[in-house]
């Protein structure tokens, strides 16, 4: 039995959302304010609901604002529908199904859906409403009808909150259900983010208490301790006794058939004495948990909860941000642990299905490894590196006040790669998703680039294009995909609102057998390129850009686009070439003929040889034509590729130098090359697209 789906209407930032879950582990990921904690609260409402729960802030205020006219006539109502699924084996008679027997949803003819292996899939649906007592509808209309604007309306609504209550309903019969009946379905443990880490969690305490309840010798132990106290402190009691002895008679205590006897009585609950002690593994000394680091304690607590609860049937475990206070390495371990559990569970699940139909008294207890369902929220990108992609549910909150649109979108990453076509991509992705790359799962906009240089420079380029990377709204993630094709990442974004901008190199080959090709072939190459795979052609949220000004990679394109500015070009060349070449660069113009004619002035023989070799094929073509325009292009490409070949292996350094090397001749002033650089057209166009809402 597990919680399969929730439909949420008008609750907090969920105006109208559907979130699907799976049996076992669910890791809910998403940026801040996406609604992760609210989602956990939604689940928690299945078990823990108080009369006083519910506030004006539980309503979706966007909805109240946009539909104010409607709500002046009818009261707003929060509606949550829970879908539970249970695989029923008619030969087993455990009490699972009894927990929700009154909420079973049948097919139209009163039957059940039978699954392949002889068991039945049973659906149960429960609706929870936060609604106004129908008796007060007229009062409601009276109170809110004159509200001007949302603010006034909210104030009026607040007056009626005492008349609001949370009620469960059977969706088939539309009849109210007793709260106790719903609470019986799942036992929910909710571990909020603001937990105390220096003490035992109440859940652990409860577990210890339960174990103590099962322990039979409690009464005897108490009496033994009392005896110990009495024996050890007998001298004290003896003194006390003497002290009060002669007075008793005189004030009349003895007259009442009683005598006062000083004594020690142990009468305490044992669970309060339970605690974890840390033992130093080398020297063996002990230390209380309190003195331990926050993060480490947190890990102990979370680990405790998971292990204690894992074997409990019909238990939902909700953990908010387990990574709190944890070092990334520890986070990695925690999620690795969850992922290992998951694997073991998959195995046991398989075993269970195979044994189905021959359940006997002996093997009913050999069930799943994870009997409960675990929900974990996180915004740690470490998890993606460690946890299973299939367990992740991504939540994102989109708002557009202008279009009056707001919605929470949930996506089960499992579904993203369920298509067989993407099987290979999934394998790649799981291999290459490390902490930095995982960041894209939390972003509203993503830029995929091939190399480190683009990644480093992108923020500066964006600034030049008037996009602020840092604003929450923009939460843009730049991910360097390196060697692997970005198509493996794209399924993640199919059908979402996340804008994905990919910059890929056109990788044009300038030479045919060491002879420089006619540049018209560059156009042909661009035209023949298929920038985006068929599977993504229809996705308007995915855009691919590549070089278009004779460059084949980011670096040489950047160079070409800035070629007119000779001093910038010289700076760029100096950043990648050996120092011995710098006087040469400074001395003459960046011109093919100039360089060719002055080669001899290069001091270093090795460098001289290299430069000569690099220039040679271009110069040949250059001299064999009279077309001035063609000559200019050859010149550009020549220097761009010279730059590229020197930049090879130090692209990261180049980017850092562009950003942070002070090139000002005046030491008191700061001047960086990035300030002079023109953003390559293809990048600029891409960023302009990304800027769109």
């Amino acid at each position: 039995m597990y919680l399969k789906k929730v439909d949420i209407k008008h609750y907090r930032n969920f105006d109208n959302a559907v979130v699907e879950f799976q049996d076992g582990i669910n890791i809910i990921i998403g940026p801040n304010n996406a609604g992760k904690s609210n989602l956990l609260r939604v689940i928690n409402l299945l078990d823990n609901i108080n009369e006083n729960d519910g506030s004006i802030h539980d309503f979706n205020k966007n909805d109240l604002h946009e539909n104010l006219a409607k709500y002046l006539k009818e009261p707003p109502c929060i509606e949550i529908v829970y879908h539970i699924e249970h695989a029923l084996n008619m030969n087993g008679f455990d009490d699972g199904i009894l927990r929700f027997k009154n909420f079973i949803v049948y097919t139209a003819d009163g039957n059940l859906v039978q699954s392949g292996n002889g068991s039945y899939i049973i659906d149960a649906v429960i609706m929870l409403k936060y609604e106004l007592d129908a008796k007060y509808i007229n009062d409601y209309v009276d109170i809110v009808k004159n509200s001007k604007g949302t603010k006034e309306f909210l104030l009026s609504l607040e007056k009626l909150l005492p008349r609001y209550s949370w009620n469960y309903y059977n969706t088939t019969s539309q009849t109210p259900i007793k709260k106790s009946e719903v609470r019986n379905i799942f036992n929910i443990d909710y571990i909020p983010a603001d937990r105390k880490t220096e003490e035992l969690l109440p859940h652990t305490q409860k577990y210890v208490r339960k174990k103590l309840d099962e322990f039979t010798g409690k009464v005897e132990l108490r009496s033994d301790i009392t005896q110990l106290l009495v024996t050890n402190f007998s001298s004290i009691t003896e003194q006390m006794k003497q002290l009060i002895e002669f007075d008793q008679g005189s004030i009349g205590i003895k007259n009442g058939n009683n005598t006062l006897i000083p004594s020690f009585i142990y009468n305490s609950e044992f669970d309060r004495y339970f605690q974890y002690v840390l033992e130093d593994s080398s020297y063996g000394y002990e230390m209380p948990m309190k003195n331990n680091g926050l993060g480490y304690n947190n890990l102990v607590q979370i680990y405790n909860i998971i292990t204690f609860k894992i074997n409990n049937d019909y238990n939902l475990l909700l953990i908010e941000e387990p990574e709190a206070h944890l070092h990334p390495a520890m986070q990695y371990k925690l999620f690795k642990y969850l992922s290992k559990l998951k694997q073991a569970d998959e195995l046991s699940k398989k075993r269970e299905t195979e044994n189905l139909g021959e359940v006997s008294a002996e093997n009913t207890n050999v069930g799943r490894v994870i009997k409960n369902q675990i929900f974990v929220t996180t915004h740690s990108s470490n998890i993606t590196a460690a946890a299973n992609l299939d367990d992740m549910i991504s939540l994102k909150y989109y708002r557009d006040p202008i279009k009056k649109e707001h919605k929470v979108v949930s996506e089960n990453l499992k579904n993203k790669y369920s298509n067989v076509k993407f099987k290979e991509s999934k394998t790649h992705l799981t291999k290459f998703l490390d902490v930095t790359r995982s960041d894209m799962m939390f972003a509203y906009k993503v830029i995929l680039v091939e190399g480190l240089a683009e990644k480093l420079l992108m923020s500066a380029f964006a600034q030049k294009c008037d996009i602020d990377f840092d604003i929450e709204d923009n939460h843009i993630s730049v991910v360097e995909v390196g060697g692997i094709n970005f198509k493996h990442f794209l399924p993640l974004f199919v059908g979402t609102n996340t804008r994905v901008l990919c910059f890929r190199d056109c990788d044009y080959k300038y030479f045919d057998e060491s002879e420089l090709k006619y540049l018209s072939e560059y156009r042909e190459h661009l035209n023949s390129m298929k920038l985006l795979g068929d599977d993504f052609q229809q996705c308007t949220n995915i855009m691919v850009r590549t070089q278009s000004n004779l460059g084949s990679t980011f670096e040489n394109e950047l160079f070409i686009e800035n070629f007119e500015n000779k001093s910038t070009v010289k700076r760029l060349l100096e950043m990648v070439t050996p120092e011995t070449l710098h006087p040469f660069i400074e001395a003459i113009d960046v011109s093919l003929t100039e360089w060719q004619n002055n080669l001899t002035s290069i001091s270093n023989a090795k460098t001289k040889k290299k430069v000569a070799e690099l220039l040679e094929p271009y110069y040949e073509k250059y001299t064999s034509t009279n077309d001035a325009e063609y000559q200019t292009d050859i010149e550009k490409i020549c220097f761009a590729n010279l730059f590229l070949s020197y930049a090879e292996n130090k692209k990261g350094d180049l980017a850092l130098n562009i950003l942070s090397a002070n090139i000002s001749s005046d030491p008191d002033k700061e001047h960086y090359l990035i300030d002079d650089l023109i953003v390559p057209t293809y990048i600029k166009e891409g960023l302009e697209w990304l800027k769109l809402k």
Binding site: N91, F93, D94, D95, I97, L98, K101, N102, G110, I122
Partner: protein, 650 residues
């Protein structure tokens, strides 16, 4: 012959071993309830299946009274047990949760589409499936939905006739029938045709939303048989099913038990074939006699021979009545060893008069058990000879004219004149005690009083004064008027004149009205109020000493007088009470004594209610006494016993 192990009512039967079903023969006074309670305790303590808070033990009793009794005795154990009659159980656990399935069955078997929103459930006890629905509403429904039916076909039709239209379960009840047999509606073919019968059923189900008791059984069984999940849920929830009074079980109930016991459920049935007296409701003791289940587990038989209730003499008499029984022909006295009172046969010489007043013979505490309420009238004393004769006539009129189910009508006070009679007597009594709340409680059923009490206004004060006045009038009236009928008429006239808002008038059928049955009311019309008052006090007071045998089932009393005279419905020759006493047949062993045997069992049930002293009231003289003495003496000799009986003439 089946193997039967003798047990004691305190024994732990280890039901929780889950390795067999149990069938327990337990005679009267055997301590069945004690056995039930003890074993429920043991089950709750030991069963691993009941450790889950969701799984419970199901205990089915025959009456709500018995269910209450068991619940009271279970105390805190109630949280682990559902105690219920088969009807309430089916209603709560099968009918109500499976509405969709129920409607599907109705559609398939009867072609009626029941509205999605309508909720079908059992009719409440003491009400009919059409209670609260006016004839006009029903007629309107017919006009709207069944225009093809001519108005005159139903215009004269009484609601009683309409409620009689039911799913016929007789064929399903025939022991070896399967559910596949076509089930149809049963109705009075003289009063209506099939189309109208369906229209009526359509109204009852679709508008009133009520199922009759037979229909609860039928649909309960059909749902369980057809829908696996509903059966599975019951099996999950109730791993143990204990059923009391199984001899009175309906064959459908037996089928339900069979379905459930196929898997998981452990069934325990307790009963006494000799106490099966509900054949008129479809019960068949053979269901217990030949109890089988479709289960892999065996059924183990037990018998409790001890009798913890009666004296040896009473036990001797009841043993005598069932001496032909094979499983339990001899109970032994376990507790009541002190009293030596013999069983007394009271022989009444004159059919219409007591020669000696009964009070002078029998103890004041003696409870009188009759087969029917109408027979009780014969024991009403302190009325004039004319009125005594009149009561006899009324009683005979009910027996001979209104055969069908009249006892239950009378018992539930639904007969109009009885209801009015009780109301007037209560008002008069309240007046004597000057008790305003009692009076208001009685009057509230007839007048709009509650609203007057809500808020004090001058108007309501005036109206309340009028109520008080009416009350005074009733008291005045009963002093001055002799006939019950006239009292009712006068009160009704006064009520109408008072200007109070009236909920309902006192009911008393007049010639020409639907409820007026001439052959009965020609006597009732002559009933004096003073006699009516005596009847009411004797029969309907909470400490009434009169009771029907059916109602007394399961109860016990120190002193009991049983009336086994006459048995007018039975063939006089074969079923003379004296003959039964002289040659009791507790079962029909294929000797064609079907009526005879049930009557024997009724005597058996009645006689076994007595703890200390039993009177058997018959008509007869010395000759009768001699016959009886011969028969019983033979039995005593055979068993080597002294005489446990004597005779007394009255």
């Amino acid at each position: 012959m089946v193997e039967v192990e003798v047990i004691h009512s305190s024994d732990n039967l280890h039901i929780y071993n889950d390795d067999r079903h149990l069938k327990i023969y337990a005679g009267p006074g055997a301590g069945k309830t004690h056995l039930l309670i003890e074993n429920i305790k043991k089950l709750v303590q030991h069963s691993t299946k009941l450790q889950s808070g969701f799984r419970k033990l199901l205990c089915i009793t025959y009456t709500n009274v018995a269910a209450d009794e068991i619940r009271n005795r279970l105390g805190t154990l109630n949280q682990y047990v559902v105690v219920s009659t088969i009807h309430s159980f089916l209603n709560e656990f099968v009918i109500k949760p499976n509405q969709l399935q129920l409607k599907e069955i109705i559609k398939e078997n009867f072609g009626l589409i029941i509205d999605k929103e309508q909720k079908l459930s059992s009719v409440q006890e003491g009400f009919s499936t059409l209670s609260g629905h006016k004839k006009e509403e029903i007629h309107q429904y017919f006009e709207l939905h069944y225009p093809e039916i001519k108005t005159e076909q139903y215009l004269e039709l009484s609601r009683t006739k309409m409620t009689e239209v039911q799913v016929g379960i007789t064929s399903l009840n025939a022991a070896n029938n399967s559910a596949n047999e076509k089930i149809s509606l049963e109705y009075d073919t003289k009063k209506m045709d099939l189309t109208l019968a369906f229209a009526i059923k359509d109204y009852v189900w679709n508008v009133a939303g009520r199922l009759s008791f037979d229909e609860i059984l039928y649909f309960g069984y059909t749902v369980l048989e057809k829908y696996q999940l509903s059966t599975h849920l019951i099996r999950c929830e109730f791993p143990y099913i204990l059923i009391d009074e199984y001899q009175d079980t309906n064959p459908i109930q037996n089928k339900i038990v069979k379905v459930l016991s196929e898997k998981e459920c452990i069934v325990t049935v307790i009963g006494d074939v000799a106490q099966s007296i509900y054949s008129f409701q479809g019960a068949d003791y053979r269901e217990f006699h030949q109890f089988t289940l479709d289960s892999k587990l065996p059924i183990q038989n037990y018998v409790i021979k001890g009798n913890r209730r009666s004296t040896q003499n009473v036990i001797d008499f009841v043993n005598y009545l069932r001496y032909r029984d094979k499983e339990l022909n001899e109970q032994t006295c376990e507790m009541n060893l002190s009293s030596n009172e013999k069983v007394t046969f009271l022989l009444q010489r004159d059919k219409n008069h007591f020669g000696t007043p009964l009070e002078s013979i029998i103890d004041r505490e003696t409870v009188v058990l009759c087969r029917k309420w109408s027979e009780v009238f014969k024991y009403i004393s302190n009325v004039s000879e004319d009125q005594q004769k009149l009561l006899n006539d009324i009683s005979n009129a009910y027996s001979f004219v209104l055969r069908r189910n009249f006892e239950t009508e009378l018992e539930s006070k639904r007969e109009a004149w009885i209801k009015s009679m009780i109301m007037i007597v209560e008002l008069e009594e309240a007046h004597q005690r000057r008790c305003i709340p009692s009076a208001l409680k009685v009057l509230d059923e007839y007048l709009e009083i509650n609203s007057l009490l809500h808020r004090f206004t001058e108007d309501s004060n005036q109206l309340l004064l009028k109520v008080m006045h009416l009350w005074g009038f009733v008291n005045q009236c009963v002093q001055e008027t002799s006939l019950l009928k006239d009292v009712v008429m006068k009160i009704n006239a006064e009520m109408t004149a008072s200007g109070l808002s009236i909920k309902s008038m006192l009911k008393y059928p007049l010639p020409g009205e639907e409820e007026y049955i001439e052959s009965v009311y020609k006597y009732i019309d002559k009933l004096e109020y003073s006699s009516a008052k005596i009847i009411t006090k004797e029969i309907y007071s909470p400490d009434s000493k009169y009771m029907t045998i059916h109602k007394a089932k399961g109860a016990e009393f120190s002193h009991v007088l049983i009336n086994i005279e006459p048995a007018p419905r039975l063939d006089g020759k074969d079923c003379n009470p004296v003959d039964i006493i002289c040659d009791p047949f507790i079962f029909d062993d294929g000797n064609g004594l079907a009526k005879y045997e049930e009557f024997t069992r009724i005597i058996y049930v009645a006689a076994s209610r007595a703890k200390d002293k039993l009177y058997v009231h018959l008509q007869g003289d010395e000759e009768t006494a001699r016959k009886i003495d011969d028969a019983l003496d033979r039995y005593c000799n055979l068993k080597g016993k002294g005489k446990f009986y004597n005779f007394c003439f009255c």
